[in-house]
Symmetry: C2
Subunit: 354 residues, 2 copies
C-alpha cells in the first residue's frame, strides 16, 4: 500500500498497563498486565487531536473504583476501565504532535492520559492543562500542582471553609492529598492533627509538614479515645481520606457546626461490602455538614489555584514528598501499594524524563 513504508518508519514501541479483568476485593499485580504494543508517532490524517508522550503517571486511590463493575442501580460519574485497554488517569506529558489548535508539539502539559508510553488524546479538553511553571519539578504536576493539589485545595478551602483557629483533623495525613491539606491548614491559622499508618509517616507529619500533632492509628487501641485526647474541645473540620472506622470515630468528636470534607474512603474501596457508618446520627444535634468533594467541579479554577500553590511551594510554605517509581513496568505494583499504605507521600511512576 502506498505510504505503508513511511508509516512503518514512524511506528515505535508503546508498552501499556491494561486491566485483565474486573477486580473484587484488594487488587493484585496480576489483575493488570504490561503489554507491548506499538504506535504511529503522529496524529492520524483527518483527526483533530494531540499525541502525547507520557512522562509521569499519577497513582490515585480513586482508580480502584474504575477497576470494579459499577454498583447496580447507582448513579456513577465515571465508567469502569475497559478490559484489555490501557488504564486512564492524570499524568504529565509532552506533546509529540498536535492537530488541535490549543496545543503544539514540544509543549509540556498535564491531564487525563493513558497508562502507556504514548497516548492519542482526541478530546483533550477540558482535562488537559498547560504547564506554566516549568521551573518547578515537573513531577509536581502529577501531584501537588495537578489533580491531587486541586483536590486538597478545593476540598479544604471551598468545601471545608476553614476559619482561623479551627481544630482540623486529617486522615491519611501524609498521603498525596493529606500532606497538602495539613500545610494549607497551617497557612490558614488552624490547629491540625493528622493520622497515618506508620511511625515513619507520623514523624514526617510533625517534622516535614508542620502538623501540630499526629498519631499512628495502628498503635491506638481506640480511635475515639485517640481523637478525644487530641481534640478535648472537639473537631471543627475533618478532612477525610479514609472513611469507615476513622469516619465513625471522628463523627463522635465533631463540634457543633463542624464540617466533614469527604474526599476519599480508601479503607472501603477494596471491600466487597462497605462497612456501615454507624454514628451518622450525631450530625443532627451537632448540625454537622458532610460534603463530598469531586475535583471535576473545580477545574475551572485551576489557573488561580496553580498560581497560589506555586507561590506556596516557592516560599517553602508547602513542602512535597513524592514516592517515585521508575519505569512503566512497575506501575501495577505502585498502584496496588496505595491500598496497603506502602507509599510515603504522593505515589507516581516515571515513564520517561523528557
Amino acid at each position: 500500500m502506498a505510504g505503508g513504508g513511511q508509516e512503518a518508519a514512524s511506528a515505535v514501541g508503546n508498552r501499556k498497563v491494561v486491566l485483565k479483568s474486573y477486580v473484587t476485593g484488594y487488587p493484585v499485580v496480576e489483575d493488570m498486565e504490561v503489554v507491548a504494543d506499538s504506535v504511529e508517532l503522529r496524529v492520524p490524517a483527518g483527526v483533530t487531536g494531540v499525541l502525547v508522550k507520557n512522562l509521569y503517571l499519577s497513582c490515585d486511590p480513586w482508580m480502584r473504583g474504575r477497576m470494579s463493575k459499577p454498583q447496580e442501580g447507582a448513579a456513577v460519574s465515571v465508567p469502569p476501565f475497559a478490559i484489555g485497554e490501557a488504564l486512564v488517569n492524570y499524568g504529565v506529558c509532552k506533546v509529540v504532535e498536535s492537530t488541535h489548535p490549543g496545543f503544539k508539539a514540544g509543549e509540556l502539559v498535564w491531564g487525563m492520559s493513558g497508562w502507556e508510553e504514548y497516548t492519542l488524546l482526541t478530546q483533550p479538553e477540558p482535562l488537559l492543562f498547560k504547564i506554566t511553571h516549568p521551573e518547578l519539578p515537573l513531577s509536581h504536576y502529577s501531584g501537588v500542582l495537578g489533580m491531587t493539589g486541586l483536590t486538597a485545595y478545593s476540598g479544604f478551602v471551598e468545601v471545608g471553609r476553614p476559619k482561623k483557629g479551627d481544630a482540623v483533623f486529617v486522615s491519611a495525613a501524609s498521603g498525596a492529598v493529606g500532606q497538602i491539606v495539613g500545610q494549607l491548614a497551617k497557612i490558614s491559622g488552624c490547629y491540625v492533627v493528622g493520622s497515618a499508618g506508620s511511625d515513619e509517616k507520623v514523624a514526617l507529619l510533625k517534622t516535614k509538614f508542620g502538623y501540630d500533632d499526629a498519631f499512628n492509628y495502628k498503635s491506638e487501641a481506640s480511635l475515639a479515645a485517640a481523637l478525644k485526647r487530641r481534640f478535648p474541645d472537639g473537631i471543627d473540620l475533618f478532612y477525610d481520606n479514609v472513611g469507615g472506622a476513622t469516619l465513625d470515630a471522628a463523627l463522635l468528636q465533631m463540634r457543633h457546626g463542624g464540617r466533614v470534607v469527604v474526599c476519599g474512603m480508601i479503607s472501603q474501596y477494596n471491600l466487597e461490602e462497605p462497612e456501615g457508618v454507624r454514628n451518622l446520627r450525631v450530625i443532627i444535634p451537632m448540625a454537622v455538614r458532610l460534603e463530598g468533594v469531586n475535583v471535576m467541579d473545580y477545574f475551572h479554577t485551576y489557573a488561580r489555584f496553580e498560581e497560589e500553590m506555586a507561590g506556596y511551594i516557592k516560599e517553602g510554605k508547602v513542602k512535597v514528598v513524592e514516592d517515585v517509581v521508575e519505569g512503566i513496568d512497575k506501575a501495577p505494583q505502585a498502584l496496588i501499594g496505595l491500598f496497603s499504605g506502602k507509599n510515603v507521600g504522593k505515589q507516581l511512576v516515571v515513564v520517561a524524563t523528557d
Copy 2:
C-alpha cells in the same frame, strides 16, 4: 407555721409523666408513669420565673434520645431526662403567674415545658415564645407554628436551599415535619415525592398535602427501585426523617450537587446498635452534601418564620393534620405510638383547653 394555711389553699393537683428508668430498645408505656403530685399555684417568693399551665404537649421522636443513657464518649447537646421527674418537651401553655419581666399572667405562650399539668419555668428564655396569632388554632403552636414547623422550614429552606424545579424526596412524609416540608416544596416550585408507612398516609400525601407522588415503603420490595422509578433523573434534595435503609437507598439516587437534609432518623432511635449507612461513598463523585438540622440554631428567626407560616396557613397553602389525644394519662401511649407509626400527622396531647 404562719402562712401554712394560705399556702395549702393555693395547692392543686399536678399529675406528671415521669421516666421510671432509662430505656433500651423500643420504649413501652411501662417505661413511664403518670404520678399524682401537687403544686402551689404561684411563683415562690424570691424566685424569678413563670408558672405555666400546660395546655398541649408535643410528642416528638427526638424525645427518645433523652430516654437513653448517653453514648460513651459522644458529645451530646442535650442531657437525658432525669429519672422520676417529669419529661420535658415543647408545648403550649398559659401563664398563671409571672415574676419574670418578659411574661405576665393570662398570656398564651409556647416553648419548653414539662409533661405535667403545671410547670414552674425559672429560666424561660430563650425557649418560651409569645403566641401572636391566637386567631389560629392554639394546638398549632405545638406543631406547625412551633418547634416542628420551624424545624421543617429551617431544614428545608436554610439547609436544603431548594431551587425551583428541584426533585425533592421526603421520608416520613405525612408526619409532623414531613407534611410541612412537602407543602413548602410545592410553594417553592419543586416536584415532591413522599414515603410513608400506610396506604392511608399515602392517600393523605396526595390528596391533602399536594405531594406529586407518594408510596408506601412497606409495600415496596426494593426502596432503591421505588425511588428510581419516581426519580428517573435523580433526587436534588432529600429531606430525611427516617435514616437507616431509607437513607441508604436515597443516597444511590442523589444527583450531582444534591443535598440531604438530615432531620431525623426515627428508624434508628430504638435500635441498640444503629444500622450502618453503607452507600455514603457515593457522596464523593456526586459532590453531595449531607447536613444535620438542629432547630435550636434557628430560634432567633422565629418571629419571621411565624409570620410567614401563619400567612401560608391562612391562605390555605399549608394544611395541617394533627393527631390529638385527650388527657395527660394518655401521653405515654401517644409518645410510643410515634415509633410504630400509629400517629397520622402531628401527634399531640391535650392536657387542658384553657
